[in-house]
Structure formats: structure tokens, C-alpha cells
């Protein structure tokens, strides 16, 4: 194999593909990435057997077809450090020579035949969505997914597509985030995508990307395609809880408050929330939202902010970290809280299509 290509383009492609390369593995061959050159350009491919990433580059001059397996970490580091606009890769016998701007490097790879095959995805259900939208939806939900060992350690996010709407839903059993987008399709599916795959997508997707992201959902796997890049992931076989059943339909009290004001007030109050039971009281009344926290060991916080209060008023306790994590990804100027008593989930409206449901702390 011998190719000449743009260093920047190659570096970007290597970075994307490397994101699925495992840091630690019992199969050392998985710490490589595969480069294949043919008449149409080159393809970079890597997999950890659960996920796979592939990028095609066509702005490449292929002098000699073939494939080579390169150590992913070293290749990425090397491309970052090179300064020439172009780079030449030439391989023979599991060695690859990289030439660029007066430097010459030899990387020792392994036999490309040993590397796992790229599994061919059978055609699944397809939808399209603007890449930037998908990025927002992932960001608006992924933080609420359970990571620790809890009852709902789902380790994934639900993609629920029905009735011309794609919903992303994540929960850890105590709070639940939903973000949705209308799509022009009648396709229906309901699958749970691993957090790792979505985290990789967050790194790979462009901010404000208008480009279309294509989702291809099969029985066991999902493929995300954008431009010449494609990410494939196994689906989780977890049963996702019935999220629609927990969305509150009515509320005793409605609070509208500026997001920035709430966020900073809550951050201050949370400083004195006890460590063993993180808890801040939200009290609505007299066009004020009052936040109080008390730690028997460290002291007490009392912060009041202006708010529009409708309904009965009253107070409930929340884990402040749950609220702050959601406010961090909220882009609205004003947020709305619908709450009842401490036995009922409360609902935060944090975007036009971003809803967050949190179970209060009871018995305090």
C-alpha cells in the first residue's frame, strides 16, 4: 500500500476512528486501526467488538492498493505532531513508513488479516435528523442515565421513534430526561443505545451541524452515518421502564424563574446541603422561590429569588445536583417548574422539546 494525503484530513479521521479503540483490552490487536486503500480512496476502520467506527477519505492519491494495521495511539500522536500539509504512508510486511516534512517514521503493525471483520449491517429502519439537533438531544439526556449500580443501571439511552417523533429518554430511576424532535418519517422503533456509543457521538458530531445524520436501526445494532463517517454500535437488550407513566399530568404549583438566576442561587444553597443526603428545599410563594439547605455540621443557607408563582405554593426537597446537572445543558432563558408534593414527581421544562422529571426527597 502506498498513499499520499492531506495531513489534517487524515489526522481528523484517525481521531474519530481511534475513539472506539479500547484503552485496555485482553486482545492487543484491538489497539490498532485498519487502513485500507483502493481505487476510491482510503477507509479507516477500528472496533472494540461492541462498537465500530469507519471513515472514508477520497481526497487521497493511492499509488498502490492494499491494507495495513497501525497502532492507533502512536499514529494519532504522530499525525498531531507533524507539520507538513501532506503525508505519505507506505507499507510492506506489517511495517508502515510515514514520511512528512523531513521526517521519516516506521510504525510496526500486525497482520491486517488478524483484525476483526467489519460486520455488514443488514438494512434496518432508517431516519434522518440534523446532526446538530441530535447532538443537543444526546446532551440533554445522557447526564440523567444511571452509571452506578442501581436498580435502573441501564447504561444506555432509549431512542423511541413513533408517530413522526424521535424521543431520547434517559433515567436512573430517580430523575428522567426527555428530549424530542419531530421527523418526517413513519418509521417506528424503540431501542436502547449504550452510553459509550453516545459519548463517542458527542465527540464526533459537529456543534450546530446542519448536515443530515442518518440512523439505521437493526435488530441488534444501530448505525449512525454522517458524511463519510459511520459509527456502529450493538444495542442493549435492557428493558426500559415505562417512562410515559411517570410524566406528571398536573401540578399544584407552577414556578417560572430565570434560568441563570436559579442556577446561581441553587449552586450557592447547595454548598450547605448535607453530604450524606444532598438536599435543598424549594419553597414557592409570594412571587419568590426560596431555596434553603441545612447541614447540622456545617451551617445553613437561605437564598430567595424572584419568580412567577401560580397555584397553591408550597415546598419540596430536591437533590440539588440533579437540578444543576440539567440546568447546565439548558439553553432557555426562563425555566418552568411544575410541582406538587413530595410523593409526586416534579417536572422541569428546560427547552421547547426538553423535559426533565425529578422525584423529590420525601420525609424531610
Amino acid at each position: 500500500m502506498k498513499i499520499l494525503c492531506d495531513r489534517n484530513a487524515l489526522q481528523e479521521a484517525v481521531t474519530v476512528v481511534s475513539s472506539v479503540v479500547p484503552v485496555k483490552t485482553t486482545k492487543p490487536i484491538l489497539q490498532n486501526l485498519l487502513v485500507r486503500a483502493d481505487t476510491e480512496g482510503i477507509t479507516l476502520f477500528a472496533t472494540d467488538l461492541e462498537m465500530a467506527a469507519r471513515v472514508q477519505l477520497d481526497a487521497v492519491k493511492v499509488s498502490k492498493k492494499g491494507s495495513v494495521l497501525l497502532p492507533a495511539r502512536e499514529t494519532a500522536a504522530l499525525l498531531r505532531e507533524l507539520s507538513d500539509p501532506t503525508v505519505t504512508l507506505e507499507s510492506s510486511d506489517q511495517r508502515c513508513r510515514i514520511e512528512s516534512g523531513g521526517g521519516s517514521f516506521v510504525l510496526l503493525g500486525e497482520s491486517p488479516e488478524e483484525y476483526p471483520e467489519e460486520s455488514q449491517n443488514k438494512s434496518g429502519k432508517r431516519i434522518e435528523i440534523p446532526a446538530g439537533r441530535m447532538l443537543r438531544m444526546i446532551q440533554e439526556t445522557i447526564f440523567a442515565a444511571a452509571r452506578e449500580e442501581t436498580r435502573y443501571a441501564i447504561n444506555g439511552v432509549l431512542l423511541d421513534c413513533a408517530g413522526g417523533c424521535l424521543r431520547l429518554v434517559a433515567t436512573d430511576g430517580r430523575r428522567l430526561a426527555i428530549s424530542y424532535e419531530n421527523i418526517d418519517s413513519k418509521v417506528e422503533f424503540k431501542v436502547v443505545v449504550p452510553l459509550r456509543a453516545l459519548n463517542t457521538m458527542v465527540r464526533a458530531l459537529p456543534e450546530d451541524g446542519k448536515e443530515a445524520l442518518q440512523l439505521e436501526v437493526g435488530d441488534k445494532q444501530i448505525v449512525f452515518k454522517i458524511g463519510s463517517t459511520q459509527l456502529q454500535s450493538q444495542l442493549l437488550e435492557t428493558r426500559f421502564p415505562d417512562y410515559e407513566g411517570v410524566l406528571p399530568k398536573s401540578a399544584d404549583t407552577t414556578v417560572e424563574v430565570q434560568k441563570a438566576v436559579l442556577e446561581s442561587a441553587l449552586r450557592r444553597a447547595a454548598i450547605l446541603a448535607p453530604n450524606d443526603m444532598r438536599m435543598v428545599r424549594f419553597e414557592a410563594g409570594d412571587n419568590q422561590l426560596r431555596l434553603t439547605a441545612e447541614s447540622t455540621a456545617r451551617g445553613r443557607a437561605d437564598v430567595a429569588v424572584d419568580a412567577v408563582i401560580k397555584g397553591a405554593g408550597g415546598g419540596i426537597n430536591f437533590n440539588p445536583d440533579y437540578i444543576l446537572e440539567a440546568l447546565r445543558v439548558c439553553k432557555l432563558d426562563d425555566v418552568r417548574l411544575d410541582m406538587s408534593d413530595d410523593s409526586m414527581p416534579a417536572k422541569f421544562t428546560l427547552g421547547e422539546s426538553f423535559t426533565y422529571v425529578v422525584m423529590p426527597i420525601s420525609g424531610a
Partner: protein, 403 residues
């Protein structure tokens, strides 16, 4: 540790629950009071000293207690009242030292080494504590004063009720010498027989053996243990940070369990016993611990932090997950235990859950099941997941048992 001998107190309330009932209901004074039910599956929590004369003791089946003491007065436990009295007693302890290690609602270790310059020597502090406990609660506490936890505990128990037994530094061995080996911690009926076969009837007999002899005769675990305790050398510190208390039950099986379904069913039974006591005492656990012993006596312990719970099925679910993490299905299981630790009060705040039944409904259901069991026995009502009951030698009561 300083070279100066420590001053450790073991304070143990006398017939705690029964004494509270006699305090609050004068008509019960001087009568054999048995706290607990006399139903077929119920057990005695505490018996008053009058009832103990008939041979009634805690953890005895209620039916047996009724046979031994037909005119005994059975009283349903009032855990909130006992917990309140326990807190009053604890407040007294806290005035004398910050090193208080509670073992249960009715007993605690106190390290008063550093308090002697302030309040006087061990016996003086012990007398002051007895007086103040009586003033605060009108209840009697027995206190043992010694240089180690073990000797202090033996001392407090020796002349109950209303005892004050002091073992001065240097006299530990002489104090222990005449006592039977069953007074050694960890020596139950089986080990006692083993010791007696080797000619060890009293702790003095143990003292006459070297550590090496004991190790050769009883192994690397039991041997040194006997040596240390027998010679009154228990070096363990009073640990105030120790989890205040835990509630646990374990079962030893006559025939080792090998069937995973059987093991899980047994965990359910244990979880129910633990859950029931949690609810009865008005507390929830924040840590679930699984104990598992193989036929070769290797013992595993696994635990996990959980949101506060007193729910049988939640305890069972976590216990099963812990089981899955440490037991691949073999070898067999000789002993199983489930413990709830990190106990918090029932009114401690709880983070709500989105998908389970509302906590209040769940609590009502469990309370209803408890009432049915109180009236009709443990088998009267079961959780849907329960398949059958295993029949071990009989459940062994776990830690945290009030005496």
C-alpha cells in the same frame, strides 16, 4: 497505644424492654413479663428477671416460653419507646466520653481512659453513669470496668442485674480463671464440646496452654483467638465511628445447599426476617451485606450501599445481586446471612423513586403483611416470588439482638 492500661466500660441495660414495660405499667412490676408474642412462630425479645427464673430467655420461641412460664404476661414490643429510652441512655454515656461504641439499643462500650482526670477513675465513672441512667430513665444498667472490651463485657454480665463489677489492671487472668470456657466469645455449644474433649473446662485451663499448643490443637484461627481472650489480652479499640448497629440473620444448613433456586429462596426468608425487624424497630438500612460460607468454612462477605430501605424484596434483590457477584453456583453453601447496616430512622429523608410503587403504598403493604404474620404466623402470607421454604436446623438469630 500508650503503655498505660486503658479503662473500658461495658454498659448493659438490665432486661431492657421488659424493664421499660414494668416502669410504664406498675401492675407488671414483680411479675414475669415476656416481651414478644406467644404465637407459634414468634420469639421472645426480652424476659423480665421474674420470667427468667422459669428458664425463659430471649430468642426462645414464644410457645416454649408459654410452656415454661404459663402465667407469664406477654407484651407486644413498643420499639419507639425503647428507642427513645435508648437515646436517653446514650446521651448519658456521651457526657462522659466521646468514645462510645453502641452494640445495640441496650448495650455499649465506653473508653473512658482520657476522661479519668476529669471524672475520676473507672469505678467512679461507672457509678456516676449508673446513677445518671437511673435518674434519666428510672432503669438499671449493669457496668463492667476493665482494661479491655472483652473482660469488661464478661464483667458486666457476671452479677446482673444492677451490677458493678470492676476488674483492676493486672487481675484479668485471675478474674477469668474460674469461668467456664463458654464465657469466651465465639465459643458456642459445638466449640465448647471440642474444648471439653481436649480437657479445657474453665478459662483457667485455657490459660495453662501456650499459644502454640492452642494453635496446634484448635487451628490457626480459633487457637490464637482462645489464647488472646483467655488471657484477657483483647486489644481491640472502642470504635465510635463503627456503624451504630446492624440487623442481620443467618442460617446454617444441616445439608449444604447446592441449588441456586434454594439459595435464593433462603435469601428471601432471611431478607423477610431482616425487613420485619427493621420495620418493627422503625429503621431502614442503607447497606445490605451478604455472608456466605462454603463447606470448607471459607467465608465470603459482600456488601453494597442502597437507598434507605426496610423492604423485604429490595433487601432480597440486592442480596441476590451480591450472591451473583461471588457465587458461581459451587461449591455448596453451608451458611447464608443477610444483614442491613448503616441504619437510619424511618423519618430520615428518602430520595423518591420514579418507577416503584409509591413508598407510602409499599409501606402500607408491608405493614399489612406484618400484621397478618403477627396474628397467624410467618407462613400466613408470602411474597409472590417465594417458592418454598428451606428447612435448616432452624434460623440462628443474628447480630443486634436485644437481651
Amino acid at each position: 497505644m500508650s503503655a498505660e492500661p486503658r479503662t473500658i466500660l461495658h454498659a448493659d441495660m438490665d432486661a431492657f424492654y421488659a424493664a421499660i414495660e414494668q416502669r410504664d405499667r406498675p401492675e407488671l412490676r414483680g411479675k414475669p413479663v415476656i416481651v414478644g408474642g406467644d404465637g407459634p412462630r414468634q420469639v421472645v425479645s426480652t424476659a423480665s428477671y421474674e420470667a427468667r427464673e422459669f428458664g425463659v430467655h430471649s430468642a426462645m420461641p414464644g410457645v416454649r416460653a408459654k410452656q415454661l412460664c404459663p402465667h407469664g404476661i406477654f407484651v407486644t414490643p413498643r420499639m419507639e419507646v425503647y428507642a427513645e429510652a435508648s437515646a436517653q441512655v446514650r446521651a448519658v454515656f456521651d457526657r462522659f466520653t466521646d468514645l462510645v461504641e453502641p452494640l445495640s439499643l441496650d448495650e455499649a462500650f465506653l473508653d473512658v481512659t482520657g476522661s479519668r482526670r476529669l471524672f475520676g477513675d473507672g469505678p467512679t465513672i461507672a457509678r456516676a453513669i449508673k446513677d445518671e441512667v437511673r435518674r434519666a430513665t428510672q432503669l438499671c444498667v449493669s457496668v463492667g470496668v476493665a482494661t479491655s472490651k472483652y473482660v469488661a463485657k464478661v464483667a458486666s454480665d457476671l452479677r446482673k442485674p444492677d451490677a458493678l463489677v470492676v476488674v483492676p489492671p493486672g487481675e484479668e487472668r485471675a478474674f477469668l480463671r474460674p469461668l467456664p470456657v463458654s464465657r469466651l466469645w465465639g465459643v458456642g455449644a459445638v466449640t465448647q464440646q471440642q474444648l471439653e474433649r481436649a480437657g479445657l473446662r474453665t478459662i483457667g485451663d485455657v490459660q495453662r496452654r501456650s499459644e502454640r499448643e492452642l494453635r496446634q490443637a484448635f487451628g490457626d484461627s480459633l487457637g490464637p483467638h482462645l489464647y488472646v481472650l483467655g488471657n484477657g489480652l483483647d486489644p481491640r479499640a472502642v470504635e465510635p465511628s463503627r456503624e451504630a448497629r446492624s440487623i442481620g440473620h443467618e442460617m446454617t444448613f444441616a445439608a449444604d445447599l447446592v441449588d441456586a433456586g434454594e439459595v435464593r429462596d433462603t435469601l428471601l426468608q432471611l431478607s423477610q426476617m431482616v425487613g420485619r425487624r427493621l420495620r418493627r424497630e422503625g429503621v431502614r438500612g442503607t447497606v445490605v451485606r451478604l455472608k456466605l460460607r462454603h463447606p470448607d468454612f471459607t467465608t465470603l462477605s459482600r456488601q453494597r450501599k442502597v437507598p434507605p430501605t426496610a423492604d423485604d424484596l429490595e433487601l432480597h434483590r440486592v442480596a441476590c445481586e451480591l450472591l451473583a457477584s461471588c457465587w458461581p453456583g459451587r461449591p455448596g453453601v453451608r451458611l447464608l446471612g443477610v444483614t442491613a447496616a448503616g441504619l437510619v430512622g424511618i423519618d430520615a429523608p428518602v430520595q423518591g423513586a420514579l418507577f416503584s410503587a409509591p413508598p407510602k403504598k409499599r409501606d402500607q403493604l408491608l405493614a399489612a403483611m406484618d400484621r397478618i404474620r403477627d396474628r397467624h404466623g410467618e407462613d400466613a402470607v408470602r411474597h409472590g416470588v417465594e417458592r418454598h421454604r428451606t428447612t435448616p436446623w432452624g434460623p440462628q438469630r443474628g447480630s443486634g439482638e436485644p437481651g
